[in-house]
């Protein structure tokens, strides 16, 4: 059941789309996947309710990932479905993992907040705010040492901007000229806390600059802008100039599936949801003369593809109970003795 040790980024990520139509397609797939995650929850098929949808943040995921290359690695925060999809994830295995099933990326052990895939360079989503950030310093160190030309990118939210480990990590990346990038997806909220309720200093790029990194902020409404900024910074990082990018967007829905966002007004939400990068890209494509039927087909394909993920997840088996003791330690290590076995052994008193 356990695959052999997999070196990070050993498989080839699909070629990224870089034109607006391609970026639109990727964003639509993310959007539709997240909508299906919501359905999975409503159907009672998700493992738990800690499901954090990235709807409204598609341009950050797709724009930054479009600047990544084969061999690059990354970590994400708890709201990471879209990022990994943009980087080439199999949506079926993602949905199965969200359902806690055997066919999921982590065989049901990880769940929504701990999806990872070493083959595609995904060093893991993280349920600890800021927890995945320093790992990219380590991955960047290895890339530099080995001269692989790879970049390692940490994705996180505005909430993580107040976690000290970010500054320690940025400082090290700058000190060692590492091919590392820090991407803040600033969706204006950390749970119920608006970004200006968490800090007086909301120009996050200035903090990065004060630590010696290249720092920029960009409006996430336009995926091409995100892509342009990301490409410039990722290219810089690749040559040893670590970078920081903050992408401004809006968290369309509650923090997690059960949160109805009572801490913000409907008017604010309505305005926020107008800042829709998917709709914005669609409008731009139409303006530029793209055939609407083509866009409808793209949307329809995404719907078909993502509908299937639910069926896949539901049909996938529960992980066998015995798998519980697997993978605590390396493949040739003895497994922990189950409690019941130990108790029987002790009570046998032989």
């Amino acid at each position: 059941m356990t695959p052999p040790e997999t070196a990070a980024a050993s498989r080839t990520a699909p070629q990224s789309n870089t034109d607006l139509l391609g970026l639109y397609t990727d964003m639509r797939r993310v959007r539709t996947f997240e909508e299906r995650v919501g359905e999975l929850f409503v159907r009672g098929q998700s493992a738990g309710s800690m499901l954090h949808l990235s709807i409204g943040e598609e341009s950050a995921a797709v724009g930054v990932c479009s600047a990544m290359r084969d061999g690059d690695t990354f970590t994400t925060h708890h709201r990471g479905h879209g990022i990994f999809l943009a980087r080439g994830a199999d949506p079926n295995r993602m949905m199965a993992e969200i359902a806690g099933k055997q066919d999921g990326y982590c065989h049901g052990k990880g769940g929504s907040m701990h999806i990872a895939d070493m083959g595609l360079g995904h060093l893991g989503a993280n349920a600890i705010v800021g927890g995945g950030i320093p790992a990219v310093v380590g991955a960047g160190l290895v890339a530099k040492r080995r001269g692989t030309g790879a970049v390692s990118i940490a994705f996180f939210g505005d909430g993580a901007m107040q976690q000290g480990i970010l500054y320690e990590s940025m400082n090290m990346a700058a000190l060692w000229d590492l091919p590392v990038m820090f991407v803040c997806i600033n969706n204006q909220y950390g749970m119920g806390t608006r970004v200006d309720q968490a800090t007086r200093a909301t120009k996050f790029e200035e903090r990065a600059i004060a630590f010696g990194l290249a720092g920029r902020a960009v409006d996430g409404l336009d995926v091409l802008e995100v892509r342009e900024a990301a490409a410039e910074l990722v290219d810089g990082a690749r040559t040893g100039k670590p970078a920081f990018l903050s992408v401004d967007c809006y968290r369309f829905f509650g923090h997690a599936r059960k949160d109805k966002s009572p801490y913000r007004t409907e008017a604010e939400e309505t305005a926020g949801r107008k800042r829709d990068p998917v709709a914005h890209a669609r409008a731009a494509l139409l303006d530029a003369g793209t055939d609407e039927a083509l866009l409808d087909r793209i949307d329809g394909d995404a719907a078909t593809e993502m509908d299937a993920t639910i069926d896949f997840a539901v049909a996938s088996a529960e992980p066998p109970l015995s798998s519980m003791f697997l993978d605590v330690y390396g493949p040739d290590e003895p497994m922990p003795e189950p409690l019941a076995t130990r108790i029987d052994r002790v009570l046998a008193r032989e």
Partner: protein, 324 residues
């Protein structure tokens, strides 16, 4: 008698304590406007204002450190850590600062703060949001540790914690918040540092705390139907630890099991079993059996999560085998 949830009892304790003592304030992520990730502080901001329900940035180390400084400066902070799983970020402030300040500084000052948090399994929250980490705290001299298992204790232990001279880590169980019990909050409860004997029997003593108290009680009832009578001790606080009660019950019965949701190795169950084995040696007919969490992380899969920690069934089965 009123029917009340564990969550509401905690909230009521905060309300009553904050009403009586102006120096008490709550500080943590989402404690104010949001009302707490598990709703314990819901509405308190309306009653006490944002200065006493202080919403913080996501900065766990500094939240605990700020509480330490505020306690030294004369107030009584209730710092909230949303999940006990995040304690690893704060253990320097908690264990090197809060726990040691009185001692290192020769008794000049204490750090009368409460660190409220919650732990345990039951919500498919995965490896980083489902742990039972009380052993780290119990192992650290200078920290008190309370873990209420009942609605009445949720209220009273929190009230008592807010009168202690030393830092108290107060760990609630996430699966108990919605639990309702009939309580009379004016009725006598054991003092701070005293265990409660929830049930008395003659065949086996089950020593436990927090959610596992309910599993032990369920097991005891099932066992009673099979002619086995169990004593169930709810420790309520792990520091102070009321070993006198454990000793008296175990010496009387001669057989003991300890139950803890935390990982087995070097955990709370180890301490309890070691101490009972050491101090009640001549009274024991059988080894003290430890029932605890498996020495593995917690999975998000519903089935694996449930399988990773003790259940009422394993408590019952083990008692039956032990007594046989």
């Amino acid at each position: 008698m009123v029917e009340m949830t564990y969550r509401d009892a905690l909230r009521q304790a905060l309300i009553d304590a904050m009403t009586e003592n102006d120096d008490i304030f709550v500080i943590g992520e989402e404690v104010g406007r949001y009302g707490g990730a598990y709703g314990v502080t819901k509405g308190l901001i309306d009653q006490f204002g944002p200065e006493r329900l202080l919403d913080t940035p996501i900065s766990e180390p500094a939240i605990v450190g700020t509480a330490v400084g505020a306690a030294m400066a004369g107030m009584r902070p209730v710092a909230e850590l949303m999940y006990v799983d995040f304690i690893g970020m704060t253990m320097d402030q908690l264990c090197n600062q809060a726990a040691k300040i009185r001692y290192m500084f020769g008794g000049q000052i204490g750090v009368p703060m409460v660190l409220r948090t919650q732990g345990g399994t039951g919500r498919s929250a995965g490896a980083q949001h489902s742990q039972s980490l009380e052993a780290y705290v119990m192992h650290t001299p200078g920290l008190r540790l309370a873990m209420p298992g009942t609605v009445a204790d949720a209220y009273h232990l929190l009230r008592m914690a807010l009168t202690q001279p030393d830092p108290v880590v107060f760990i609630e169980h996430k699966a108990l918040y919605a639990m309702k019990e009939d309580v009379d909050l004016t009725a006598h409860v054991p003092d701070w540092g005293k265990a409660a004997v929830r049930r008395r029997g003659t065949d086996v003593v089950i020593v436990t705390y927090s959610r596992q108290v309910h599993y032990a009680m369920q097991a005891a009832e099932a066992l009673a139907g099979q002619g086995i009578e169990a004593t169930v001790i709810d420790l309520r606080t792990l520091n102070p630890l009321d070993f006198d009660t454990i000793r008296a019950e175990v010496e009387h019965v001669g057989r003991a099991m300890v139950v803890s949701e935390g990982p087995l190795t070097a955990g709370v169950a180890a301490e309890l079993a070691a101490r009972i084995s050491e101090e009640c040696f001549d009274f024991l007919h059988d080894p003290v059996i430890r029932i605890a969490g498996e020495d593995i992380p917690i999975s998000v899969s519903v089935a694996l999560e449930a399988g990773s920690v003790p259940s009422a069934e394993i408590v019952e089965q083990t008692a039956r085998k032990l007594v046989a």
